[in-house]
Symmetry: C2
Subunit: 228 residues, 2 copies
């Protein structure tokens, strides 16, 4: 088993059978010892963070596979803290796709002249470039096409899948009386079929959830969602 | 004649005949005494800047009206340094529409991971919100529709007109051996017909022009374009 990439929160190994293994670490992103899912540096280590993230990811991905939404997920091993996935290539150096149901965060910082905090948004989708040096800038459909990152046809698929997955996650949260404000997803191309598939994780750090007016921290969110 | 608005570079008067008068000032935007068309504050006063901006605006708008591209322009009076325009309402608090033929400026700052400086862009259109406090953020077609600033149908018109006007300006510059890198336009709704029309000015400060590899300053650009 060959280590091919050491990430901020996950290590990636190549398996013999053309699949890959993601090992979830207890390192979480943040700054000055404070957990911040949006940060670009590892801020601290929290015992159990990797396993909780893996369990929630496995929870969502198993259901998405059952629903026949295309993903990279094969299975998970909680004892080893690993997840087996199909190989996929990312768009350029990676894109993040955000789906918003409430106006908060960077949306509000940009469009506060026309939106009020917490205002309903109708599953609004936007794409950002993964580029730490340039603060992960938003990018339009036209720019994605012009820079050869996604065709217009692929963008339409990406947007449709994002809304479908975000609504599915929102419905799962609603079963625990939680409200999904926004969620950040990552997609890639299936290395074999070239199909657009959901990749990476779907853990507490990928979304903003509220219980009533109270923001639920990622680790608490994972506990609530995984409680029997 | 009633003064109804004092802008950074223009004053606006209401006329008796339902038209408006824009008085071009010699104040130009910039910081620390340096002319910067993108700045949000008046930086300095340059003798003749207002008249040169008006003359170039009148040059482009007269031709656009002849081409039956809808604009707010009626006529200009160089002695009074004024331009008569039809009333129009802006989208929200105002939008700027940028058309790019070369990758420079904020486009390159955002997408430098996928574009090289000066790379050709195929009349790429993007919209920014006029919001000094939020550094004029870019906004997507979907966000414009969701925030009720523009419908998708209006966006399509805006984009088509922007490309048409930008290509027209680029062709005029090419007659003087200049290359248009990008241009910033403003549109509004005709107060009578609700039609989407080009508003504001088209002067040196609205565009980046190069002669070979040399950037041409706005005032020099105006001199070159207006020379017989």
């Amino acid at each position: 088993m060959e280590l091919i990439y050491t990430g901020k929160t996950k290590d990636v190994f190549k398996l013999e059978n053309e699949l890959y293994l993601l090992k979830f670490k207890d390192d979480v992103t943040g700054e000055n010892g404070v957990f911040d899912p949006g940060a670009n540096t590892v801020g601290l280590t929290i015992d159990g963070a990797g396993l909780a993230g893996l369990k929630l990811t496995s929870f969502f991905y198993s259901k998405l596979n059952e629903l026949e939404v295309p993903t990279h997920y094969v299975d998970a091993n909680f004892e080893e803290q690993t997840m087996t996935v199909k190989p996929a290539t990312v768009f350029g150096k990676g894109l993040e796709v955000i789906c918003r149901f409430k106006a908060v965060g960077s949306f509000l910082r940009r469009y506060g002249a026309y939106a009020t905090e917490g205002q309903d948004l109708d599953a609004f989708v936007e794409v950002t470039i993964k580029d730490d040096d340039r603060q992960d800038p938003p990018i339009s459909e036209d720019a994605l096409a012009m820079l050869n990152l996604l065709t217009h046809e692929e963008y339409a698929i990406l947007k449709e899948r994002t809304i479908e997955i975000a609504k599915f996650v929102g419905a799962e949260l609603a079963k625990k009386d939680l409200t999904l404000y926004d969620i950040k997803l990552e997609f890639g191309r299936d290395a074999k079929t070239n199909e657009i598939i959901l990749i990476d994780e779907i853990s507490g750090g990928n979304m903003r959830a509220y219980k009533g007016a109270t923001y639920i921290e990622p680790l608490e969110l994972e506990q609530i969602m995984l409680a029997k």
